[in-house]
Symmetry: C2
Subunit: 108 residues, 2 copies
DNA sequence: GATTTATGTTAGTCATGACTTACGGTAATT
DNA sequence: AATTACCGTAAGTCATGACTAACATAAATC
């Protein structure tokens, strides 16, 4: 299940977002991700766990290494949530403008 | 300045997201928002401050009351960031597939 | 002008989470 | 089979933040 709550929490951390952006450029094992990041390898592992539980990444065992890659489904879920939100906010804004015009018309 | 970092942090909190969704339905003063939420009014004020600094809402004084509404600019910034991200991840995925095909062709 | 209404701010508490070190487990290598 | 490479987990520390209660401020009302 792709939870919007978990996804937003996952992306709110800068380090985790950095990992996610790295994976956007292509799949990678944990150690490679840890090099080039200012945190330890276990920290990266913990971040990847959060990203995985949020449905944003998937993993695959490959010998001793574990390859992580972006899960498009999770990213798509956030986009969908955001789009629906955008639509609601826009229609509410338009309704508000219409109400405002009506009020001014009544007052002359 | 609409900072993606601040925006994502702002939306990662469930209570704050609830406030934001309420405002998506239309502008509202602080007290009205606080009723119908399980937290105190000062808590709502603090959340609104975070949302405002993230560029997600704007406020307007109206007598003793302060009306908050959604700032479309902030929401649009997140959408833009997400779309660009989506594009990068997709092209990287396609490139990976192409590399994989090439590898299989070489091996016969 | 005193009171009421509506809100922002401050101080303090408590829970959460990001991090490191140490350890355990599994697969490849020699 | 011993060693090495790679990774996840556990425990513990420390900073951050969400929350409440108390106080301060500004506008409307009486």
């Amino acid at each position: 299940m792709t939870n919007i709550n978990l996804a937003l929490i996952a992306l709110s951390d800068p380090t985790r977002r950095q990992i996610f952006e790295r994976l956007a450029a292509g799949p990678s094992p944990v150690g490679v991700l840890a090099d080039g990041l200012p945190v330890s390898r276990p920290a990266v592992s913990q971040h990847l766990k959060v990203l995985k539980e949020a449905g944003l990444v998937s993993d695959e065992s490959q010998g001793t290494r574990r390859i992580y890659r972006i899960d498009p489904a999770g990213l798509g879920a956030i986009r969908q949530w955001l789009d629906r939100f955008w639509e609601v906010a826009l229609t509410a804004f338009q309704a508000e403008v219409a109400r405002d015009n009506e009020r001014r018309k009544d007052q002359g």
